[in-house]
């Protein structure tokens, strides 16, 4: 049954690739503007050797990991604290709600003014993309904890920090996990634009540079590369979260 599903999925994907290939070969679309995958990928690989490729991928991943960790860590901390201490929540949340709708990319000029053109400004923009979803989901998780659960724990004599650490935070973990994955996806979403800030390496730089050279093969390859990296790293994150959640939420 599941094998059949996978086969159908593979067939659908293959079908689209074949149509693309056929369209480019038959000349229905201009192959220099829209090269088929069979020529675009080898062509791109020929132009950017494996070493250079790895440099771009690792430069981007490093930025994302830094920005994500800097955003997700405080996101969880502030989210948990504002969900638990009501007064703090009332103070912090309006601020966050006000700043949150500003798209991370709109911060780019201020990021450059504050941090210059180097790495920190790119990391800062990614930090913004990661912080808000993690904070919002963590807060939502903390506020939505079943009151009965807390009451039961209190009856058993738990209170204060121990109640928070052993009952409340584990109960909010699924929401925190959602926030982490959304934050990771968003970080990837803005990577390319963040790398428009005077970058010399990175997958976003790779494709923007290829545009200047008019090299469509490299652009298409780069787009697929960013998508694949996003998909693969998200799967890793999901796997880690599942194992980590499994301790409390057996499903």
């Amino acid at each position: 049954m599941r094998l059949g599903d996978a086969a159908l999925g593979a067939a659908g994907t293959l079908g689209v690739l074949l149509v693309w290939e056929a369209a480019a070969r038959s000349g229905a679309v201009n192959p220099t503007l829209f090269p088929p995958p069979s020529t675009a990928i080898p062509e791109a690989l020929r132009r950017i050797g494996p070493d250079e490729l790895w440099q771009h991928v690792s430069a981007s991943l490093l930025r994302i990991v830094w920005g994500f960790c800097l955003g997700a860590g405080p996101g969880i901390l502030v989210g948990v604290a504002s969900g638990w201490y009501r007064t703090l929540g009332a103070l912090v949340r309006p601020l966050v709600e006000l700043v949150r709708p500003i798209p991370p990319l709109a911060w780019i000029p201020m990021a450059i003014i504050w941090f210059g053109l180097g790495e920190p400004s790119k990391v800062f923009v990614i930090f913004l993309a990661a912080f808000f979803p993690v904070f919002t989901n963590t807060y939502k998780g903390m506020v939505g904890i079943d009151a009965l659960l807390l009451r039961a724990a209190q009856t058993m004599g738990l209170s204060g920090p121990r109640l928070l650490l052993t009952v409340a935070i584990p109960a909010a973990l699924p929401d925190i996990a959602t926030g982490l994955r959304v934050g990771w996806g968003l970080s990837f979403g803005i990577l390319v634009a963040a790398e428009l800030i005077a970058a010399e390496q990175g997958m976003g730089f790779l494709i923007m540079h290829a545009r200047l050279l008019g090299d469509v093969s490299v652009i298409i390859f780069g787009i697929l590369l960013i998508g694949a990296t996003n998909l693969a790293t998200d799967a890793c994150l999901a796997g880690v979260i599942r194992r980590w959640l499994g301790r409390w939420h057996a499903t």
Partner: protein, 279 residues
């Protein structure tokens, strides 16, 4: 600060979902306090106005944008109209294709299985990574920006529409069949109403994506639009204008998402209790 949490010392409970957060005046006070501090710190010379333009300076910059415009002659209203116009075009285009297509895919299991890996991949392709490609294909004009927004909104909307139809309680459909309802009537009177709340949630998220993408799309090949304004101002060392642009786009995003939430409550009163499905 006393750890109050949900279980306060007197044993009273905050019922889930009703009164979130603390008293509202605290929030207003914290916002007002921050703005005041910001202004005072700036007056005292602690914050350099170029790095952190104070509120008074922002007000002046807004006035300048409203009267004379920036860059010369393009007033803030034009920037707003251009940005909203681009978002609206891309968004409506995405919805117009995603809704019928999503219903079809969600309703026919084979189509769903055929397209699942493709849709998953297309969703993980960062919208802005298409920026160089659409520029090569369609130039740096309006079409490219609208298409980028459409792409971002499309996949979010599509996955939500598919899920909205796919995960309808089969009991509802079977019950309707038992009552000898015809195929089209089942669709119009059972499937669609049951699917609408999730579709609406998808539409809301998709609009948020549109607001994210527009800033990136306006970074290239235009001087009109809020995104362009924010970036353009930097090259003239006008950080105050950048911040005004950020605040305006943030307010728009905020107002529209709140507006849609209200609209949903009016249009789809049966969608309450769906909060948990909505992630």
């Amino acid at each position: 600060m006393r750890p109050s949490g949900r279980v306060s010392a007197d044993g009273a409970f905050r019922p889930g979902g009703t009164s979130r957060g603390g008293p509202r005046w605290l929030g207003v006070a914290s916002l007002g306090g921050l703005v005041l501090l910001w202004q005072l710190a700036s007056l005292a010379g602690l914050l350099k106005p170029f790095y952190f333009p104070p509120p008074s300076r922002l007000a002046i910059a807004f006035w300048e944008l409203a009267r004379e415009g920036f860059p010369e002659g393009i007033r803030i209203w034009t920037h707003m109209a251009v940005t909203l116009g681009r978002i609206a075009q891309g968004y409506l285009l995405a919805l117009g294709v995603a809704i019928p297509l999503g219903i079809l895919i969600g309703w026919v299991p084979v189509l769903d299985k055929l397209t699942l890996p493709l849709i998953t991949f297309a969703r993980s392709v960062a919208t802005l990574s298409l920026l160089p490609l659409v520029i090569v294909w369609f130039g740096a004009g309006e079409l490219s920006k609208v298409l980028l927004i459409a792409y971002g909104c499309f996949w979010v909307m599509l996955t939500n529409v598919i899920a909205s139809v796919k995960y309808i309680d089969p009991l509802l459909v079977r019950a309707a069949r038992t009552l000898e309802t015809g195929g089209l009537a089942i669709f119009g009177r059972v499937v669609l109403p049951a699917a609408l709340p999730r579709m609406f949630a998808g539409a809301r998220v998709a609009l948020g994506v549109g607001f994210m993408v527009i800033v990136g799309a306006e970074m290239i090949g235009t001087i009109q639009g809020l995104g362009a304004l924010i970036m353009e101002a930097r090259t003239y060392y006008r950080s105050d204008i950048s911040v005004v642009g950020m605040v305006v786009i943030g307010l728009f995003g905020f107002a529209i998402s709140v507006g849609l939430e209200r609209l949903e409550r009016v249009l789809l009163p049966w969608s309450r209790g769906l909060e948990s499905v909505r992630r």
